[in-house]
Subunit: 270 residues, 2 copies
Amino acid sequence: MTVAPIRRTEPNTDTGRGARQAIRDGLHRGPTAGLAPGYVQGNLAVLPRALAPDFMRFCQRNPKPCPLIGVSAPGDWRIPELGEDLDIRTDIPRYRVWKNGELVAEPDDLNGVWRDDLVSFVLGCSFSFEEALMAEGIELRHIARGCNVPMYRTSIATAAADPFHGPMVVSMRPMTPANAIRAVQITTRFPAVHGAPVHIGKPELIGIADVMKPDYGDAVEVRDDELPVFWACGVTPQSVIATVKPEFCITHYPGSMLVTDRRNTEFAVL
Amino acid sequence: MTVAPIRRTEPNTDTGRGARQAIRDGLHRGPTAGLAPGYVQGNLAVLPRALAPDFMRFCQRNPKPCPLIGVSAPGDWRIPELGEDLDIRTDIPRYRVWKNGELVAEPDDLNGVWRDDLVSFVLGCSFSFEEALMAEGIELRHIARGCNVPMYRTSIATAAADPFHGPMVVSMRPMTPANAIRAVQITTRFPAVHGAPVHIGKPELIGIADVMKPDYGDAVEVRDDELPVFWACGVTPQSVIATVKPEFCITHYPGSMLVTDRRNTEFAVL
């Protein structure tokens, strides 16, 4: 009797679909940065149906920090416009489950916690515009250093959609003034993935006391010939949800994003 | 005994607020084209709360025909981000009230029909990009002729968000090829008010048998040296709502739009 050899082919994570399959099969764990170059990755927020209209209205009012790129029907784990085969319960490497604002679990899939009243929201993320910046030769320090981008809670209020409210969270990338100007032009082309910066220079004007002490992510140096450039950040909705403390909520684990079939270039308006 | 003379000051409709006040006071009836130059006007759709999340998802999936610029809280007649004093029940010259897909009334205000479960959606309209086109010297034939823009149901399907589905409605403006190219560039700057055209030339490719027979509005000539240029149209959601036949729905009367305090230029991304 012969036993068929166990063959495990290396997963092809060059496409959104391939990356999701690898994640679904348990062959990829951890951060999704670098997977499926050119494909849009998204932040995830899953809320009970009762809160969904208010959260959608919050996103509509705050398109820079909360650029909605996909919304599921209630109870449906599919979002076909982001990927035909996409299953929101299994296609992210790691999740965070929250009850009444408290983190209660960080599972690899949602099979044990899914409910029929859940609505999934996928929000664009900065990976898309960072790719465009790097393609134009603008070096991003946190990527060069291999760390997370620094993020800050600011004094900029989001536009409330009761019960959702709270401060905008921003990410920061240090740049020379010439690169900062070019970066404004480039990211303006991508309104669906945070768009143009919300602030340049003078961090104290938006309530940031010390750029070397971010609230999330890692500090990176801002050199004397550079300005800190701030973009609205997809962590904003997580921060707002934490303020509202919904009875139940799911988000992605930081850095473990949803990889989609949409291409970054599709989101350029020019 | 002296009687104070009745003084009626001419309403100042140069601003969004002034135009709304004049409409609210019954001093302006009929089309809003030409009121408050430079200010955004919007299409209105009002639906019961039960249908609101699906309609919002429909708009999210179809940003070109359904560019959401404001959404109310359920039962709330205010949309402060579009105007501090705005009252959706009184600030449009004329409304259409629909029951189960049938037009049942065309009132001057909504005081007699308002319900506590209604959600108001305001969608950007082509007046905003038409102003930008004319500012660049591009003549618009329907405006030169003083008629309505021609509109057509097409074979282009919208992205469904159950129960909302149906064909995209487009508006058409004839242009020389050079102006068509410039118009693509100009309207690309305004993704929040329909954005770039969805089609140029060859109307048969999008299911339009005869450009001289529009489904809505008035026919305008397309000269031999011109191409018909088609934009996604804010009539699409009304057409889709008519297909779905919700038990209750309110829209604006065609041409009688909501005048807001937002400026057209705010919606330019470049």
